[in-house]
Amino acid sequence: MPASPGVDSGNELRILGFLCNWCSYGGADSAGVARLEQPTDLRIIRTPCTGRIDPLFIVRALINGADGVLVSGCHPGDCHYVEGNFHARRRLETLKRILPVTGINPDRFMYTWVSASESGRWQEVVREFTARIHTLGPAPRMSDTLTETLAAEGLPMQATNGVK
């Protein structure tokens, strides 16, 4: 059996998780509190609701070099805002089915529902998704970012947009 992926094995990939504050973030938190072992590749971004997740967040992440994106929220019917995840479901499904024409592997994106009490399920979701992304390997890149281009040419990064 190969070493579990992650920072210790030096083969960590970039996986982004958009988690709803009310359910899945709670689920991930309780998984942590319960010390359930999880791969370390996932970087979590906490959102107020899956309904807040613009599908373009996911596109931007995939185009910017994320190897996988996971979205997780409350089970349909359990949304803190009643219908946020119902709206999200249509948008996320639409995006998932559009991805094949772009050449971005739709398997790099997954959305699911995990409640705050399902720490075990959270562990399963992260393990399975991380394993899937490791099978796919690093995502192909369309182009280097400006930072990478400048670094490759040995040039300093200049401040843009007033942000240093």
Partner: protein, 311 residues
């Protein structure tokens, strides 16, 4: 058509139509304000561009517009999104049997200078110029969207001129999207990388799109854009394309204006075709065909029959 425009004109601020451009191959938008302007109106295979793109900026005026099937779908979709007021719009519809793609025509007939006449006879297109008379099979030179046009007649109209036409039977050969789907994901990605290297970020694809209504508030050109930077590279250009595609999901009326307007000949229609196929499959409806239907991405069902539950 001219007669009904003349009759309606006194009650309208203007009527949008087409007139002949610098040669017979090019039609250009005509803004009819006076009775004598009506005489310059032309209808035919060169009336390519969608005039509906003008409508949102004319809100508040009473506007007439001449529409082919696909143009009328854009108007209907704008009405459906409450971006236009039905009471302010008069539709002059007709049955359209196809328009010319200048790109395809040039491929088949070579460069065409100072064309003096363009005629469609049954299934041929005849072009006359000082260099002589040339002709081609219409299917080889028409806009790709016309090959299997399901809505040749204006979907909605206040005045309808001429006979109503039968929809074209779907083209037998595979669609461009189906051919593209034969490539592997990696090949598709490499394809877009190459195409996006040619993109000059002129935004013509967006500006020609009748359903792009944010204009100078577009996410892509904000001074402090959160989604796409001004960096010129394929991934930023592709990001811009995907903004367009996602913002048009469930709204795109397949008019093909984005692809036609692209000066770099980038096959943007592939991305739109996928989005249209997906939203039709998920929501069982076509954009721009029913002004009253709710927008699929602004509503939901608690149990979605077409979406597999993910728990």
């Amino acid at each position: 058509m001219k007669q009904s425009i003349r009759e309606a004109l006194p009650g309208l601020d203007l009527v949008l139509g087409w007139e002949q451009g610098w040669d017979a191959l090019h039609a250009t938008p005509l803004f009819i304000r006076k009775a004598e302007d009506v005489d310059r109106l032309i209808l035919g295979p060169t009336c390519v561009q969608s005039l509906a793109v003008q409508l949102p900026s004319l809100k508040g005026k009473k506007v007439g517009i001449v529409v082919k099937g696909c143009d009328s779908r854009a108007v209907v979709q704008l009405l459906r999104e409450r971006l236009l007021d039905r009471a302010e719009i008069i539709l002059f519809g007709f049955g359209c049997d196809g328009v010319v793609s200048l790109k395809r025509l040039t491929k088949v007939l070579g460069d065409l200078d100072s064309v003096t006449s363009v005629k469609k006879t049954d299934d041929r297109l005849v072009v006359e110029s000082p260099d002589g008379r040339r002709e081609a099979a219409f299917d080889d030179v028409c806009a790709p969207k016309c090959l299997d046009c399901a809505w040749p007649n204006a979907v909605e109209s206040d005045h309808f001129a001429g006979p109503r036409l039968e929809p074209r039977p779907p083209a037998e050969s595979k669609t461009a999207l189906e051919r593209f789907e034969e490539k592997s994901l990696d090949e598709r990605f490499a394809f877009w990388k190459r195409e996006m290297e040619r993109c000059i970020r002129c935004y013509a694809c967006r500006n020609a799109c009748p359903m792009c209504v944010c204009r100078d508030k577009c996410l892509a050109v904000s001074r402090n854009s959160k989604f796409v930077s001004q960096e010129a590279n394929p991934s930023e250009s592709f990001m811009f394309q995907l903004i367009h595609v996602m913002h048009l999901a469930g709204r795109c009326v397949s008019c093909g204006e984005c692809e036609r307007a692209c000066p770099m000949d980038i096959p943007l229609g592939l991305l739109r075709a996928q989005s249209t196929a997906v939203t039709e499959e998920l929501f069982h409806e076509q954009a721009g065909t029913d002004p009253e239907a709710p927008l699929p991405l602004l509503t939901f069902k608690t149990d979605e029959e077409t979406i597999e539950e993910r728990d």
